[in-house]
Amino acid sequence: MLSANTIWIAFGLYMCFLIGVAVYVTLKERRQKNKGSLLTASVPWPVLVMTYIASLMSTWVFFAGPGAYYRGGLGYWLSEMSYIALFPIIAHFTMNKVWIVNQEKGGTLVTPADFYYERFKSNALRTILGIIFLVSAVPYVTSTLVAIAQAAQYATDGAINYRMAVIVIGLTMTVFVCIGGMKSAAMADTVQGLLFIAMLWVIVIACLIVGFGGSLPAAVGNLWENTQSFFSYPGPSGWTPYAARFGYPFSCAIGWTIMLPHVFVRSGYFGDNMKTQRKLSFLTPVLQAVVWTGTMMIGLIGLALVSNMTASESELIIPYLVKNFVLDFSPMLAVVLMIGFFVGSAAVGLSTANAFLGVSAAIVSSDLIKNTFHIKVPEKKENMVHRVIIVVIGLTSTVLAINPPDLIFTLIMFSIAIVTPLFAVLVFGLYWKKATKQAAIVASIVGTVLVLMTYFVWDVGDTWYGAFGLLGSAVTMFVVSLVTKQPESDAAPFFATLEAGMNRFYEVKKAKKDAKAVEK
């Protein structure tokens, strides 16, 4: 539908925007004489909220999401709403405490495993967690490049070569993170996040106007008459049975929105003060609901217009609707929407890929090179080493995306699952002083093995994701902590730090007083 030139120009403009942000952030840092790491950031609340949302949106919002609602129906959306609401409570009990400890440590924590080390003082645990987090990150970067290149190919009816698209996008991503680091990725997310949330809703409204004269009740009425299964479990394609209604959102609530390494560092390390952390908790579910509802609306309208799409066709429902409905209605609008679809997919996809690339480099640099192999890098050369690591991981992901392995999409799905069991280690570490490093190591391994068995032995990964792994790691954490011992002196500094941080940021005495009043 679009010419290859149109797509390249659109992408070129977007690339200029990204490089501009990276250069701006770098120059600003130099002017302020900040000599920080490329791999950390401390940002105000608008940047934190938008970079967090953009990281969650990924290519899912424009690609798999609408197709998932097409097949899963309203029940699938309800299951998503059930976990999206949980973020503030999970963040309050875990990530805000992670943030407090990081602040007390002077903002020196870089990777998720750094936090676990602070609590359990085990280098073996840090190495194991570093590997698990890295394994969860790399497939995501590759999959994002695959999805964006496929979007370019589809939008131009094959005029753009898939491999060329992967190489250009992969290099753009690598150069962008190399120049600007984590902070420029966060800044770019802030600008583009709102723009592409708006673009998503423009696509919704355009499809509604073209298909049903702008009347949502007409679209809903059509579905109610012809495909009432949309409004009930397990959905039009039987995608949301009771087990998946629990297993999928539960893993998302923990694995996707908290434990994946790129969101762990955002919700636990990036906030510049506690008010920023609170705004993140307060606003994230609302914004997520707005975006996810827009995605659901596209699935709803698509199903009301075409009820016999195959699963793979429904993955590309946005360009399908543009090509088959909007084009006849207004060719100009169709071109605008198709460009919006491609650049939107590329932008939100690159947001996630940039975030993963940054945190992957941090894991290799901190967890593996520095703390596992004990290679000391001079302070002056740290950023150069970080850039080399970013280039290596970026190019590796690009090469993988050129000929993606068959398992790539399975790997992505269990990226979420494989980090879910580590949540039990985090919670026990925060709330139980008797939790030991031996338990943390065994629980991490048992949880990971159970997730692998869920996928490759029991073949129920698409229903239960990381649920069995989390249960297994929680039980293991409890039992092994009871039968093993770790010197109290190992955990004491951690709890002292947390206590000091709580006193620094909260009026703890008043809190206790109020708590007593509540109890009375």
Binding site: I89, P241, F505
Partner: protein, 78 residues
């Protein structure tokens, strides 16, 4: 790590309604109206409980006046 009574109630209510939402067999498969009623009675309360609880917990854990002060790490930004 001490947890206040308000936090406990907040957590327990959220878990209860999350379990109620996920009760197997409810609503029956293929029933649109019960699905909508079930959502109104479970998903909507989860949102209300989370946000009402959030406000109450924040009232208990008041931020110190200097909570907005830049952390020591602000000079180390990347």
């Amino acid at each position: 790590m001490k947890v206040t009574k308000t936090e406990k109630i907040w957590l327990i209510l959220t878990v209860i309604f999350y379990i109620l939402y996920n009760l197997p067999g409810v609503p029956p498969y293929g029933e649109a109206i019960p699905t909508l009623i079930h959502a109104l009675l479970t998903v909507v309360p989860i949102w209300i409980i989370v946000y009402v609880g959030l406000v109450r917990v924040y009232r208990i854990y008041k931020l110190r006046d200097d909570a907005d002060a830049p952390p020591a790490s602000s000079t180390k930004e990347g």
